[in-house]
């Protein structure tokens, strides 16, 4: 009877434990990806996630990461105070006709208007006719105005061939940017800011976000070189930035974080956006997964061996073996549950 009970217990335990051990890792992967999707993170494979757990440096492009990806108007300075609304209206109406970030920011000052004869002047500005008034918005000397020193980017506005004022636009920093940067650093990831903007604006942005290392006026082709230099200093480097400007840097990085849609290459994590908070979530998820993974195998093996020993010793009747298997499952589940917290 005892033999029968012992044999049955061993058999039952094996029947429960073997599948448990067999499926625990795929289950971990499934849970990780599910959790990732709920956070707006698309992880192509476990290996990429394991790679993410080892990252210690994050190179972030300013567009869409610590900033919203948009600029905002920070100063409206009419030459004649009575022209404040006129300045906003004419520049804003013309701004709607262009797609660049400066124009998009200025467009928020006014509704759409009747705009004709729009011309883009690369590198200097935009011109057009708003309600039949000729309007130019652009680099101040281009519209016959003096340059304005200071943070942000300042453009001059001319209506009817007369300068009427200045508008300054600057990065729109995400509200939680500095908090997310702090959490990144706390998790062992050092952010490095790269920007196509000038030194003063880049430094100001870095300070506002709490980033200690920044690289202004970094053209796309220089970014890959920066990644390689960091790697040569022994850093495991991830790059977060929109395509296609950052394609070379993303290819050179140990981990690429991009908001591009479609099939992902190995070593690339897809994100719904590049919000620095979401970037932090990638690393937090990777590190948690890594921790759980490192615990899961020994715990599962120990539970299996312990149960097997108890069964062979005849102290684990069939009913108790089932109970043991359930307890083992709960322990494993608890470990996995740590991923979703």
């Amino acid at each position: 009877m005892t033999d029968l009970n012992g044999t049955t217990g061993v058999a039952g335990l094996i029947a429960v434990t073997v599948p448990l051990l067999t499926f625990v890792l795929p289950l971990l992967t499934w849970i990780t990806r599910s959790r990732g999707r709920s956070l707006g993170i698309d992880v192509p494979d476990v290996k990429t996630l394991q790679s993410a757990a080892t990252i210690d440096t994050l190179v972030i492009d300013r567009w869409g990461t610590v900033t919203t990806g948009d600029l905002r108007v920070t100063a409206v300075e009419p030459l004649d105070p009575e022209n404040d609304r006129n300045l906003r209206w004419f520049a804003g109406a013309l701004g709607h006709e262009a797609a660049d970030p400066v124009a998009r920011a200025i467009a928020r000052l006014a509704t759409r208007g009747r705009v004709r004869n729009v011309d883009q002047h690369p590198g200097v500005g935009i011109s057009g006719s708003v309600d039949r008034h000729p309007v130019r918005v652009g680099h101040p000397p281009w519209v016959g105005m003096d340059e304005r020193p200071g943070l942000g980017r300042t453009v001059g506005v001319e209506v009817d061939n007369r300068p009427i004022g200045y508008l300054t636009v600057a990065d729109e920093v995400r509200e939680h940017a500095s908090g997310s940067v702090v959490r990144l650093v706390d998790d062992g990831v050092t952010p490095v800011l790269v920007s196509d903007d000038n030194a003063a604006n880049t430094e100001d942005l870095a300070h506002r976000c709490g980033i200690d290392e920044w690289h202004p006026e970094t053209a796309p082709e220089k970014r890959a070189r920066l990644v390689v230099e960091l790697q040569e200093r022994g850093r495991r480097v991830a790059v977060a930035g929109p395509r296609p400007d950052n394609d070379e840097a993303l290819a050179a990085a140990d981990l690429a974080l991009t908001d591009a849609t479609g099939p992902l290459d190995p070593g690339t994590v897809g994100l719904v956006d590049l919000d620095v908070q979401r970037l932090h979530s990638v690393f937090r998820l990777a590190r948690k997964t890594s921790r759980v993974r490192s615990l899961l195998r020994p715990v599962a093996a120990a539970l299996g061996l312990l149960g097997l020993g108890l069964a062979l010793a005849g102290v684990l009747p069939p009913l108790a073996a089932v109970g043991y298997a359930v307890v083992s499952g709960v322990v494993i589940g608890a470990l996995l549950a740590g991923l979703v917290r």
């Binding site: 209206w89 009747r114 008034h133």
Partner: protein, 429 residues
């Protein structure tokens, strides 16, 4: 008017007859009035509803004839010609009116009988001898016969003109109407032309262009005068639609300006208004439609009545706008005009102009900068409204003359202000 009869031999009366006639001298006018009244009462054919000019002519002829007869009887120097002309004119008028020649004969007979009767009364009062009275009667008969002959000559001429040249008569009538001729003249011409001048006329100016003149036969109900463009057409107001339709059928590609109806006295002005409407179409102030209803464009016709005054006012009042660029000038003047006309809010003006309200506020700021406190002067504002109302459509149509005039005047002023500076080398010397 045909060949006039020779002047009759001078009347020779005995002294007693002259004395009797001299008693009549102071009463010639009242006697003439009585005779004329009797003629009107007895010959209804000369006393129709529209015959006032004819009645006046009858009286004038009788009065002048009696005056001539008295003067001649008293041995004074006389001239038959004016009286002969009057009687020929009388005959011509009666013929032109299409009346029977018999009416003239009746009238003359009646007048002679009335005058003879008057003389007989006075002869009895003056106890004139039978011989003297016979001499007077003979003189009257000779005198009346001569004048009757003048009437016949005039009648023949009138009848001939009436029967042989109605088209020319219609042209003369149209010319008389356009020239503002007096009622007598118009009545006479209307009678010859066989075209009854209605109470209300409508004048049409036809810009015949390359299509050639409008033939008179194309509009039988109207008067017209081919041969120049614009070609005038006058019709009764009741016949306007019919006339315009006939005109369009005859000259389908031509343009016509139809003036508003008016009395015949207004015909010269109506011609001015209608031709001005055509001018304004050419200046692109009035839309180029085949038929221009002048009633719809009274304001434009009125505003452009004094082009020189408009030009002077524009140079004076709109100077601030002339210093602006062409685009700015057009935009600001258009906005200013709408504001002056409506005094609406910025959103309402913006809706009218199809722009954003802030654009209107911006323009208003610019306008205030340009005109300053003048905009608070009601006289200035009224003049500004009128001159803008007249000028803006011209500018929009592409008329640059105001600005060119301003620019040349300014250049001349600057040339005067800047004296010729001597050559620097010369100054050093």
């Amino acid at each position: 008017m045909g060949e006039a009869a020779p002047t009759p031999e001078r009347i020779e009366l005995p002294g007693s007859a002259q004395w009797m006639i001299s008693s009549l001298e102071r009463e010639v006018r009242s006697v003439a009035e009585g005779v004329a009244e009797q003629v009107r009462a007895t010959v209804p054919g000369l006393d129709g509803p529209g015959d006032e000019p004819l009645r006046q002519l009858v009286f004038t002829a009788i009065h002048n004839a009696m005056r001539l007869f008295v003067d001649e009887s008293l041995g004074r120097e006389i001239n038959y010609t004016p009286v002969e002309d009057l009687f020929r004119k009388l005959g011509y008028r009666v013929a032109a009116l299409g009346r029977d020649e018999e009416l003239i004969a009746q009238g003359m007979t009646l007048a002679v009988r009335e005058l003879t009767s008057e003389l007989q009364v006075r002869a009895a009062e003056n106890e004139l001898s039978a011989g003297a009275l016979n001499a007077v009667n003979d003189a009257v008969t000779t005198f009346a016969t001569h004048l009757t002959r003048q009437v016949e000559v005039g009648y023949q001429a009138g009848a001939q003109a009436r029967s042989s040249d109605t088209g020319l008569a219609r042209i003369r009538l149209l010319t008389a109407l356009l020239a503002g001729a007096d009622d007598d003249e118009i009545e006479a011409q209307a009678a010859v032309a066989g075209w009854e001048v209605p109470e209300s006329l409508t004048l049409i100016a036809v810009d015949t262009g390359d299509e050639g003149a409008l033939p008179a036969e194309a509009c039988p109900a109207a008067l017209t005068r081919p041969g120049r463009s614009p070609q005038p057409v006058i019709c009764a107001t009741a016949d306007v639609e019919q006339t315009v339709a006939a005109l369009r059928a005859a000259l389908p590609h031509t343009r016509a300006a139809v003036c508003w109806p008016g009395p015949r006295e207004d015909a010269p002005d109506a011609w001015t208004w209608a031709t001005r409407a055509l001018d304004l179409v050419r200046a692109r102030v009035i839309p180029a439609r085949p038929v221009i209803d002048c009633t719809m464009f009274r304001t434009e016709i009125w505003l452009h009545a004094e082009p020189v005054l408009r030009r002077q006012l524009a140079q004076e009042l709109l100077q601030p706008l002339f210093t602006e660029t062409e685009n700015s000038r057009e935009i600001l003047s258009e906005t200013l005009l709408v504001w002056l006309e409506t005094r609406d809010s910025a959103p309402a003006i913006a809706a009218k102009l199809g722009v954003h309200p802030q654009t209107v506020r911006y323009r208003w700021k610019r306008i205030n900068e340009l005109f300053g406190d003048s905009l608070h002067d009601s006289d200035f504002v009224t003049q500004l409204l009128l001159v803008l109302k007249a000028s803006v459509p011209l500018w929009i149509a592409g008329d640059q003359s105001d600005f060119e005039r301003f620019a040349s005047r300014r250049a001349a002023e600057q040339a005067q202000v800047e004296p010729e500076s001597p050559d620097e080398d010369d100054a050093d010397d």
